[in-house]
Symmetry: C2
DNA sequence: CGCTTAAAGCAAATTCTTTGTGTTAAGGTC
DNA sequence: GACCTTAACACAAAGAATTTGCTTTAAGCG
């Protein structure tokens, strides 16, 4: 009797997950997302399909998991010295990362998953970090920033053929900073 | 030799499509979207699965088609007498329709389809109709309205557990109307 | 080292998807 | 209206993906 909550994340399990994640990323690089299948991923990862089905349930859940792993930031938002600068820098990078084919597909997969909210949590944390750098300024709430800056960026990526122009992004940031 | 562009939308074809659309809507009402399958729809519609695969390609495309059909407005946006009033009325109704379980799933299906932009086109046309009622006022562009009002509504529906509060919606509309 | 069991492997059963071929009926011509 | 042409559907067999029962491996303890 052991191990809290019956989880076993070490050793082989971790290796298999790593191997599967790599396989997914590699395949998404080489071919259309709609042509990627579970048996294909399994073969590439040197694993049985049933392993994937048992751990993730279905292809959509696996793709969402991989996408979220890639979205997890590996560094703090850049510090430019001003609130507007920090937000601009962060938003521009975000727009850039998500505007690509793979980026858009990542958004789609996360969105279709059971917990799309986790993605917002990550974004919110990043924005919170920025806002917290300026305790003496009147800053907009993170929710407001999400509504006025993140939402338009993501919406256009998901629904529109063309991504937001940087000019328009700056205008939206200015609107968000002109708090009321 | 006849028929422009080899389409044949009349008679049986139309009946089959209608039957399949009804079947989808009925099934989406009764069970989880993720449990709905093509063979199931086919059976309900009194049709062979291959008919569906040949016409739509896959389940996702069919669901998107059905969702778009339901999104197509059956009436003009309400005319309240003022720009703010019209936009509020429209946005509140939109928020309401899309906040439900089925509404959210419709958005997801359309978004995942090959032409999510068509959905924006419908929304844009509705907003354009409203804006055109006030040729003597300085009105925001439709794009701006989409960025500041529609995007947050949709984003929160897709990514957040809780929908936008009506209060916050009004605030966003006010921001959009305070043009610059 | 040995025990327990979560997680992976394997393979059969099931279900979904694709595809080849024949049939039905829309839409046009005379 | 009788008669073509062929798009769209039905049917059935082949192929692929998913599920499931059972076995084997090795992670995490004592």
């Amino acid at each position: 009797m052991a191990i809290k909550e019956g989880l076993r994340p070490g050793g082989r399990s971790a290796r298999v997950q790593e191997s599967i994640h790599s396989a997914v990323n590699a395949l998404l690089q080489e071919q259309e997302r709609s042509t990627v299948t579970v048996p294909q991923i399994a073969a590439r990862a040197g694993v049985t399909p049933s392993t994937i089905y048992r751990r993730w349930g279905d292809l959509a859940a696996l793709l969402a998991d991989v996408a979220l792993a890639r979205m997890r930031p590996d560094s703090e938002p850049a510090n430019t010295g001003s609130l507007r600068g920090d937000i601009r820098a962060w938003a521009e990078q975000y727009l850039d990362e998500m505007s690509s084919e793979v980026g858009r597909n990542m958004m789609r997969d996360v969105q279709a998953s059971a917990t799309p909210g986790y993605c917002v949590a990550i974004i919110g944390a990043q924005l919170q970090t920025i806002v917290d750098r300026y305790p003496n300024e009147k800053t907009p709430s993170v929710d407001r920033l999400i509504d006025l800056v993140v939402a338009p960026v993501v919406f256009r990526i998901l629904f529109s053929a063309t991504a937001l122009e940087v000019d328009e992004l700056h205008r939206l940031i200015d609107i968000a900073l002109r708090l009321d």
